[in-house]
Amino acid sequence: MKRCIVFLCALLPTTLLAAGDTTVIRNATVLTVTKGTFQGSILIRDGKIVEAGEKVLVPDGARVIDAGGQYVMPGIIDCHSHIAADSINEGAVAVSSMVGIEDVLNPDDPDIYRALAGGVTTANILHGSANPIGGKCQVIKTRWGKDAQGLIFEGAMPGIKFALGENVKRSGSPGGGFGASPGLRYPASRMGVEDVIREAFTEARAYQKEWRDYQAKLDRHEQAVPPRRDLKLEPLVEVLEGKRYVHAHCYRADEIMMLLHVADDFGFKIRTLQHVLEGYKVADEIAARGTGASTFSDWWAYKAEAFDAIPYNTALMVRKGVLVSVNSDSAELMRHLNTEAAKAMKYGGLNETEALSLVTINPAKQLGIEKQVGSIEPGKDADLTIYDQHPLSNYAKVTKVFIDGQLYFDRDKDLEERPGKEARKKALLDKLKAQDKKERKKPDAANDKDDKKGEEPGGGE
């Protein structure tokens, strides 16, 4: 209540009303990604960017953050991550589209905070690559401290993971490959991978027809029992109907073409090819279908199918007109995607804006969220990362991160709080140790009335 009054007082005498929650970041170098770079300010209200420009009026009552000498860019978007989930792979079935990351989001995963500290505000959390058709993905914002529902990126297009090649056919596993021991899960070859995908979509079409027939009966006012809901086929029908994006793990050019042809045959789109290390070999074919590519900056030869990877992949695909992003696939790489993007300037000569696009507006487009995030423009979510130096520099450190206009990471605050956290932990440790000791001393003394929490709990065996 008191806060309300103070707030109202602040509002009354002004002509320019700072309605709602208002923040201004000023004196910064603003890298908008889509609208150029300038020295100026960003006005944020109720979680949205209201204005960004060289001259922005600061409304009275607004919280002002002076970012003199610092750089503001859109929050980084990672198109391929496996953080913040309690499970990643459902591996026993070749088609695991019935499972979804949303069911197992883990808001307590410290990797969320670490990603945030690396400037990441949005991430596509994918199922693993154990099966030709994997589970459903979940796009999240790194809203550290919120519950599972609070992580979800509202309005993001639903996605699903596909995977091709060695992981799927189990080349490295005991019992994998040709002539494998019994118990091997089908498929064991690249041919088998294609077959699994074709079979699944054939099934999905039949399932789609079942529901259409049912709907037609209802439309004719006939009595009908609805078909059984099949959680494996529902997401595939959504893919066929363009309501769910396919993010496909792949490496080799031949398997990339295979998948593009299968999708052509069934009339759906592959939204992104993930990893796509040989994408540069078939960039024209990828571009022609409007398919995106989300790749590593310079990671190769870690397995046979990654031997033809080159660090020029990103730039070559960009030049061929492919929508390209650079992703992490790793909780560690995720913390410095800005420098991962910068590598495409060294290898292939992308300019600064093109490099920044690889981790901002491009992945936003690939995830169908470019209207909300990915650049600094009025109307978009105020998801912003402030660096102390140019983000494409190795020396740049994240100082502050905003999501929906709220400060979620502050480097100074983090450093300040560390001694207090250490002390709290030590105090707790000492308390529990003292209790343990007390408990051990009195196995025969039954009188523990005053002992608050000293007893050995449980007992068990």
């Binding site: 990643i88 459902e90 026993a92 499972v99 029992v225 959680l231 449980g458 007992g459 068990g460």
Partner: protein, 447 residues
């Protein structure tokens, strides 16, 4: 032979006698739970039921009067989630049926390998139809131990698999199976157990998706059966599915949830499936008591408070989260009580003799004594829909009583007797090492 001997020993080791007529426990402190505490109350039992309770009740001439000076009478305690009374080997193997053949032949001839891949339609780790009530073993040695700790009843469940089976509300009278069952089925015990990577479902999200599919299948099954029953002629017959039959006859699902994120996850899951649910575990509920209260979903809190692993590496530094959980878990019941959440206790592997100690930790952390008693009596009875029969000392209810020489919360106060269905049992002073001799995990473990 061994079993017979055990049974004889069990019968001999405690004294019980069935009074021929009514029994009156007179002049004791009576904690009725559903009504006020009577400082000098009398409880009249007849034919295994509570006939009357009050401060001034007329006793029938033939009543066998027990003077209750210095005694406190509580409703018989209820362990809200247990395996006590069930045989120690599961009745049915819940593993998927497909086995890998011994010798496959690669090029023609011989048996073809059976594919290991098993989707939800194979109903892996599912025995929804197994009923605890059908498996009760009155000779289970744990019955006596549990009863000696003041428990008149347990809610016992098959515990193997994802859908383990249907629970029963049992009176620990240890005589005839049919006498012990108070209500059945009272719920379906569900775990989120994952198996190997190569077995479906092999991940947490796989188990959740599987439960969802079975639940949807059950909804569809009802529609299909009803449609068929309305005019069978000319219609394709729906397949009989014992897995969904078992789920459909269970009045509620028990879902595991220990930490805050799991509680949140399972509350939302239960709402999505539109099935009544009860959560079990709950140690970190001190973080989200309002969430639980608001959801209206009852929570069974394990009395097996987290402790430091006995064989932990002394050099390993535990995380702040682990330490905090160990410190604060016993404050969960107090937080739930304050928020107005519906919660009950279960042993969760706590040895019967240590139950009062574990309970005391919750009281020391702020839970009221009345709240503690309620969470062991009337609340579990309400959760399982049997509060019209058990859970408090009220006329007409089953005569399940716990008689303590002093207060239940004074650890030195001895349990004088336990009445179950009006039959008096005396606690056995020395109990053999408790727990499951076969090393079966205690029920209610979460993930």
């Amino acid at each position: 032979m061994k079993h017979v001997t055990t049974m004889l020993l069990a019968a001999a080791s405690f004294l019980y006698a069935q009074a021929p007529g009514p029994i009156a426990l007179r002049g004791a402190r009576v904690v009725t739970v559903s009504g006020p505490v009577l400082e000098k109350g009398t409880v009249l039992l007849r034919n295994g039921l509570i006939e009357a309770v009050g401060e001034n009740i007329d006793l029938p001439k033939d009543a066998w009067v027990v003077e209750g000076q210095g005694l406190t009478i509580y409703p018989g305690l209820i362990d809200a989630l247990s395996t006590v009374g069930l045989p120690e080997t599961p009745a049915t193997s819940a593993a998927p049926r497909a086995e890998t053949p011994a010798t496959p032949s690669r090029f023609g001839g011989g048996d073809l390998p059976v594919p290991v891949e098993q989707g939800p339609e194979f109903r892996p780790f599912t025995t929804t139809w197994v009923r605890a009530a059908d498996l009760v073993n009155p000779a289970d040695r744990r019955i006596e131990e549990t009863r000696s700790a003041g428990f008149a009843s347990v809610v016992t469940f098959p515990s193997t698999g994802i859908f383990a089976g249907e629970g029963a509300f049992l009176n620990l009278s240890g005589e005839k199976q049919g006498r012990m069952v108070v209500a059945s089925p009272v719920g379906q015990y569900v775990t989120l157990t994952t198996h190997s990577f190569g077995t479906y479902p092999g991940s947490l999200m796989g188990v959740i998706a599987y439960i969802r599919q079975v639940s949807f299948d059950a909804d569809h099954y009802q529609l299909a059966l009803a449609a068929y029953a309305s005019h069978p002629a000319g219609q394709k017959r729906p397949n009989y599915d014992r897995a969904v039959e078992g789920l459909l006859e269970s009045p509620r699902m028990l879902l595991p949830a220990d930490d805050a994120k799991q509680l949140d996850r399972m509350i939302r899951f239960a709402a999505e499936l539109k099935r009544p649910a009860v959560l079990y575990g709950g140690h970190q509920a001190y973080k989200v008591p309002d969430l639980i209260a608001k959801s209206g979903v009852p929570l069974l809190v394990s009395l097996k408070w987290p402790e430091k692993p006995k064989d932990a590496d002394p050099d390993d530094e535990e995380s702040y989260r682990t330490l905090e959980l160990r410190d604060r878990a016993p404050s969960t019941p107090a937080a739930l009580e304050k928020a107005g959440a519906h919660f009950a206790f279960y042993a969760g592997g706590t040895a019967p003799k240590d139950m009062r100690k574990a309970l005391k930790r919750a009281v020391d952390a702020g839970l009221s004594e009345a709240g503690a008693v309620r969470a062991l009596t009337l609340t579990p009875a309400e959760i399982y829909g049997v509060a019209d029969r058990v859970g408090s000392i009220a006329p007409g209810k089953i005569a399940n009583l716990l008689v303590v020489k002093g207060s239940l919360f004074d650890e030195k106060a001895k349990i004088q007797s336990i009445y179950i269905d009006g039959v008096k049992y005396e606690p056995v002073a020395e109990t053999p090492p408790s727990g499951d001799r076969e090393g079966r995990p205690a029920p209610g473990g979460v993930e």
